[in-house]
């Protein structure tokens, strides 16, 4: 793909994308924030692997620190930041990638879906590309929510993901997939955005009860230990922050992948300035 397009063009498009995102959030009254990249607790989620660095960890996302800001009373915040994840390497995965993450107090997943679509459309327009109208589908319409977790995940990757509509938001996940989202009824109140089968973003209506998160964290750590992996250190400050957060929703969008989706790039490496020793 990239062979036919000069690298400078990609850089230029990426710059336009960043400019459009910052313009959009500025106009909507969001604050751009910066939080530490070196953290003491890299993640809660069992399946995330981190990269350690000088006694700390490179963050896997700015989630904990941004939630601290929410607990401090900031209501509309966003961040564009590199994130780091161990053991993730492939056409759609990189150990280092750019994240656009934002949180807004007082809204649920429905409002956040609308904001997300608006951001993506504005980016597409800025880059002069068209994307299909978004479908919104509850996951239960695609896959039986009562399947065991392992089988559900396998069939999601094997059957569902490759056959999703071109632009789609899937929402309401099985309860075991709640991560940091609240559970409403029997469903995890979260959604994901896919463009052309590529997972672009991941959103939560945030859980505000620290003991619920503590229980999930402990369960995840127990599973990690069973698999011979080191547990993710429990972040007590973060648990305290949760109890002080307003009702809010947040989303993380992989910017490299958004660029891939908008420009029909098939390998995430083609959106990065190469580490020359690798290439």
């Amino acid at each position: 793909m990239l062979k036919s397009r000069s690298f400078a063009t990609i850089i230029r498009k990426k710059s336009q994308l960043l400019h459009q995102i910052r313009t959009w959030f500025w106009e909507q009254g969001y604050l751009e924030v910066q939080t530490p990249l070196l953290v003491f607790s890299p993640a809660m989620e069992e399946t995330l692997e981190s990269i350690s660095c000088d006694g700390r960890y490179l963050h896997t996302s700015p989630e904990f620190a941004m939630k601290h800001l929410l607990a401090q009373g900031l209501c509309k915040i966003y961040q564009i930041v590199p994130c780091f994840r161990g053991e993730e390497e492939g056409r759609h995965h990189s150990k280092e990638f750019s994240m656009l993450e934002w949180y807004r107090a007082g809204i649920g997943t429905q409002d956040l879906m609308n904001e997300s679509i608006d951001v993506i459309y504005s980016c597409a327009k800025a880059l002069g590309v068209d994307i299909a109208d978004f479908d919104c589908i509850p996951t239960a319409e695609l896959l039986d929510p009562n399947l065991p977790e392992e089988e559900w995940m396998f069939r999601w990757v094997d059957e569902i993901e490759p056959n999703l509509p071109p632009s789609v938001i899937v929402y309401d996940y099985p309860k075991w997939g709640a991560a940091l989202a609240r559970i409403r009824g029997e469903k995890a109140d979260r959604f994901e955005i896919y463009i052309n089968g590529l997972e672009i973003g991941n959103a939560f209506h945030e859980e505000l009860n620290p003991s619920v998160i503590r229980t999930r964290w402990e369960k995840g750590n127990a599973n990690r230990i069973q698999k011979g992996k080191s547990p993710h250190p429990m972040d007590e400050d973060f648990l305290q922050d949760i109890s002080q957060m307003p009702r809010c929703s947040g989303i993380a969008i992989g910017l490299d992948r958004l660029l891939m989706a908008l420009l029909d790039i098939t390998d995430i490496k083609d959106t990065h300035v190469p580490n020359r020793r690798e290439s």
Binding site: T47, E88, M153, F154, V157, D158, P162, E199, N202
Partner: protein
Amino acid sequence: MKYQTSQFKNGLKVEMDNTPYNMVYFQFVKPGKGTAFTRTKLKNMLTGAVIERTFRTGETIQAADVETVEMEFLYLEGEDYHFMNMDTYDQISIPKSTIEEESKFLIEGSKVEILYYKSRPVNIDLPNFVEAEITICDPGIKGNTANGGSKPATISSGATVQVPLFIEQGEWIKVDTRTKEYVSRVKK
């Protein structure tokens, strides 16, 4: 021998259900909500059909016992195609039913890659181009140039390809075996 998902790469020869497959595509997939998988496309080395298969991380797949050996096609006898390894002078034969499609482009003296699976020859890989004599074709029409239409012509090995109208029976042509298309006229 078995391969782990972390060893997957294009060109890996693997075995499932007693069939050898060539891995023509693989992709690491890790949904934001869970564990990692590897999506693959596997090409059946006997039929050429491509299937899709998803593997869980840590899952293994059997390595296929395959090797390829270059040999020269000697002659057709009855329903058997005879080949010779030009290094060892070993001769083998493969029945026509095994290489039905490929055999239509087998010209005596051409070098092919013989695929062995569990020590048995099971398929052949043709050279990308072969030169063959046209054995059956309608007469050429005077005044036609290379820009004209086309007509079917049968080559000595049995395949039928579309050729320009000016080509005559008894002429030699070069054919692309991958697309099964006429490339050019060959002076013999």
